[in-house]
């Protein structure tokens, strides 16, 4: 019998629950693997997929979203060895799973903490409830490869947003492997979309895109680029999360700000009638 030839993996994009190559056909080499080099058009396709997924994901019950995110944490745990083989320290994988579970737990709790009844001078109930803002573009932190990525995706989607993530250009393998985790987690296609490649190519398209509601610039290290992206984002008044400091410690308790920054508040007046 002839010697077996190993099957090598091409790391593809994750758009609308599928793993397409870049529309441009380009790829680049990371850790001797081929990784797709996403184009502006891929970014546009990802936004279309993310927009299509908003209705179903935001409309799902908070309990259901929580269950799906717990399932994602289980899948992540199951692929621990695979992440370690990519060079992610075991501790970081554990921290990423814990971070994911922590955010999953918020799914059916955030609206109690962040919404509620407002005191008003009249015979009415006045209630405020947080709602997802819609499609969120995310520039993932360059490192830690996995914990950083989880720390920006989970808080955005737990409340019902959908995301288009520009993965770290230097650490894309963890991002695509996380996509494989999400693809087997009952997460509807399009809720998380991952683009690998140059930030300078995808981020400006996402920042200027009129159908994106918020942009998280956590992973932008170049101050000039960050300023340019903010200017572009102002065109349709996107919510903007400013870049994280270069020495930001992603392992500490993140607090709720990442979740609450990507919400809109709906306030309703209701006659008491009692």
């Amino acid at each position: 019998m002839s010697e077996r030839v190993a099957v090598r993996k091409t790391y593809k994009l994750f758009i609308g629950g599928k793993f397409p190559r870049s529309e441009s056909g380009r790829s680049y080499l990371v850790q001797s693997s081929n990784v797709s080099l996403a184009s502006r058009k891929d970014a546009r396709d990802a936004v279309v997929a993310a927009r299509a997924a908003v209705k179903g994901w935001a409309g799902a019950t908070a309990y259901n979203r929580g269950q799906i995110l717990y399932r994602a944490a289980e899948m992540l745990e199951g692929r621990r060895e695979q992440f370690v083989a990519l060079g992610i320290p075991g501790d970081e994988v554990d921290a990423a799973v814990d971070r994911w579970v922590w955010y999953a737990g918020w799914a059916d709790k955030l609206s109690q903490v962040y919404g509620g009844a407002n005191p008003v001078a009249g015979p009415y109930f006045n209630l405020s409830a947080p709602e997802p803002t819609g499609v969120v573009a995310v520039v993932a932190p360059e490192r830690p490869a996995l914990l950083g990525l989880v720390s920006v995706i989970a808080p955005a989607i737990v409340t019902g947003n959908t995301v288009v993530v520009a993965a770290s250009p230097t650490e894309p393998l963890a991002a695509v492997t996380l996509a494989e985790v999400l693809a087997t987690s009952d997460l509807p296609g399009g809720v998380v979309n991952i683009l690998t490649g140059r930030i300078t190519e995808t981020a400006p398209t996402l920042a200027a895109h009129m159908d994106v509601n918020a942009i998280d610039l956590s992973g932008v290290t170049d101050g000039e680029l960050a300023a340019d992206l903010e200017v572009k984002a102002a065109e349709n008044l996107k919510r903007v999360l400013r870049p994280a400091p270069v020495d930001h410690d992603w392992s500490v308790d993140p607090g709720v700000t990442r979740m609450t920054s990507l919400l809109e508040t709906k306030t309703v007046w209701h006659p008491k009638g009692v």
Partner: protein, 319 residues
Amino acid sequence: MTATTTSARSELSELGRSETALRTFLHGLPGVDQVGAEQRAAQLGTRSIKTTAKAQAIDLAIRMVDLTTLEGADTPGKVRALAAKALRPDPADPSCPHVGAVCVYPAMVPYVAEVLRGSGVHLASVATAFPSGQAPLEIKLADTRAAVAAGADEIDMVINRGAFLAGRYKEVYDEIVATKEAAGDAHLKVILETGELATYDNVRRASWLAMLAGGDFIKTSTGKVPVAATLPVTLVMLEAVRDFRAATGRQVGVKPAGGIKNTKDAIKYLVMVNETVGADWLDPDWFRFGASSLLNDLLMQRTKLTTGTYSGPDYFTLD
């Protein structure tokens, strides 16, 4: 189909007189190579159209749109809003052309006519017991006359598929002739409903039948059955109008309708028109798209080309 002699032309015009002659002619048409047609359509769909060519294609496609609403829930207000959109699809950009026509049910024609009068945008009305066509002939003709009287200058009729599939070609032919007469000066578009014709051979026969009977346009579908316009079906119809012009000297338009949802699809059709019948048909007088959601995607792509940023559905009207 290259015979253009006067005798051949008169022979074609005589065909409608007898069932046998019509059947002999239609069944004598060469069969369609199904695999070949599908392969050709798929191949033409891979062309990449960029920058200035794309900008021209988008503007042409906008001018070719028959902006359509054919719902039980149509109201005067809704069709007026649609007509206003037809006149000025992108209110933010005066350089954006108007669409080819507005297409509505006969009952909605008067409301649209008020808005479109004198604008150059045509007003199409479906008629003849659309979409099934299963009604007595007098009712179909009355439907047509009412639409024209109310102000429609284009009539989208459906053929009698029941009769066609049963092989009663003369009946189908006579109905088209009668509807053409009832429509008077209005342009007659003949809907073949290709999704119900089952084979490309039938599509070719129905195309010829509609053209022989005097149709000014042949249209693929009503949009009310699961299979609407496809590229191969449109290819077969384009070949039919090409051959018909070669045989008779009369040019007939083509309108794919239903299922064309985005700019990429529309451009594929335009490529196919250019490659199959040539630039003579690349004009709103000879090629139309029956669509509603297509227009918004064309406008979004147009905005992308003029401003450089991708737009979103929030910035365009819901139809």
